[in-house]
Amino acid sequence: MNASVLFQQLINGMSLGSLYALLAIGYTMVYGILRFINFAHSDIFMVGAYSAFFFIAVFRLPWPLAAAFAVALTALVGMTIDRAAYRPVRDAPRISALITAVGVSSFIENLGLVTVGARPKAFESPGFMSQVFHIGSVAVTGVAVWVPIITVLLLAIMMYIVYRTKIGMAMRAVSTDIEATRLMGVDVDRVISYTFALGSALAAAGGILWACKYPKITPLMGVYPGWKAFTAAVVGGIGSIPGAMIGGFIIGLVEVLTVAISPNLSGYRDGVIFLVLVVFLLVRPTGILGETLKEKV
């Protein structure tokens, strides 16, 4: 493999990795606060892609407007799921929330199959995504260039909200100690609601960008990206937002480079990622940036 091929693969890896990062944030944020894995998050990703599809194909909205509406609508869907499915089991044991999440995921996928059908739909991505860039001897598609750029912008906005605003401060407080946050006069349910909105908005953006990259969308399109993003969240350290970003990029690079280095392994690309998951769970379950539980008496 020569340098220009390697460079091209690195760009592809970053591009795929940023999509995993966008999706991983939602897993890690919900886990950080509620200590369960929101399995329905991968389906939120799908809802984002389909919303954009309908806004473009049916309502003929211009692309940026369609994307913005889709993100907003998906954020609302995320909040609704929390309100309808998770809030009622908030005080139940964690395992109840986990099972509920599996149920919600199954429900959304099957609702998708019933309403929009299993047949893939062709996603119209905007022109700038299919443009080809020439950097020296390397040719890369617009998707591979724009996806990481848009992702970094979105992540910057998200970081600003979490680390520089009042509601973000409350989100971080809730993730440390829900009861103590209540004692500060904070309506914790509301903060959790906003957390779902933020995570779902990023997942929607991920879903839309994913559809630009792989323009055939189906109701089950979120399943594998979801598992890999979950892996990314674990690798980065579940509960840690910077960890989820780093994990996302790592998983994207591992996947692309596995295939690039040994094309024979291309059939095992998913398997390699899950091997990474197993290894991390065995060797370092707290991930790269994960919090080791520290308690002070």
Partner: protein, 239 residues
Amino acid sequence: MSILKVRDLNVHYGGIHALKGVSLDVPEGTIVTLIGANGAGKTTTLRAITGLARASSGSIEFRGRDISSVSPHEIVRLGISMAAEGRRIFYNLTVLENLMMGAYHRQDTEEVKKDLEWISGVLFPRLRERFSQKGGTLSGGEQQMLAVGRALMSRPKLLCLDEPSLGLAPLLVQEVFRVLSEIHDEGCTILLVEQNAKAALKIADYGYVLRGGTITMHGTGEELLADERVRKAYLGEGE
């Protein structure tokens, strides 16, 4: 006039009848203390007052309004705040952020600034030096100051403190009690739960003794300090 009136309060949790008909009064502008052994129901009483534990019967009246079914965050807005047992600092937030969390629901930015000035400048100057440090990096004593300071940031009409001296070195215990009198002098009403009964009764206007979920004795701080039974059971004297 009583700012807080608890009447015949019963609390059950996990199959345990933790409070069995507790009644107490906290007059405005006073320090009232609740003493008793471990498991007597002191913390449960505070949890019921702040809305974290639900009363199965009885009433909790704050400034003339029954708050026994009001949610915890609303109760804070009504004017009760608590520095909970174990400090409960947000270890991943900075000291300044911890303090600002205490004022989360307040809209009066200017007044919040004044309170921050008073708490971090006058009451606990040590916190100011540590503003940008994470809460989790503070020592136990500093965390306790932060917990009390944070509770004060909501500018409460009633401040509940659960074991503020627990696990602190004697010098720091004195420091905490000095600050409590200072807060009291500023006009804040305090409901204090303490294991350190002697120190608590000394600064308290009135005290209640809890045992097995019921109030077994009450009187002014001086009366209780002088009482034979209290001295034996809670001040470690006699025999």
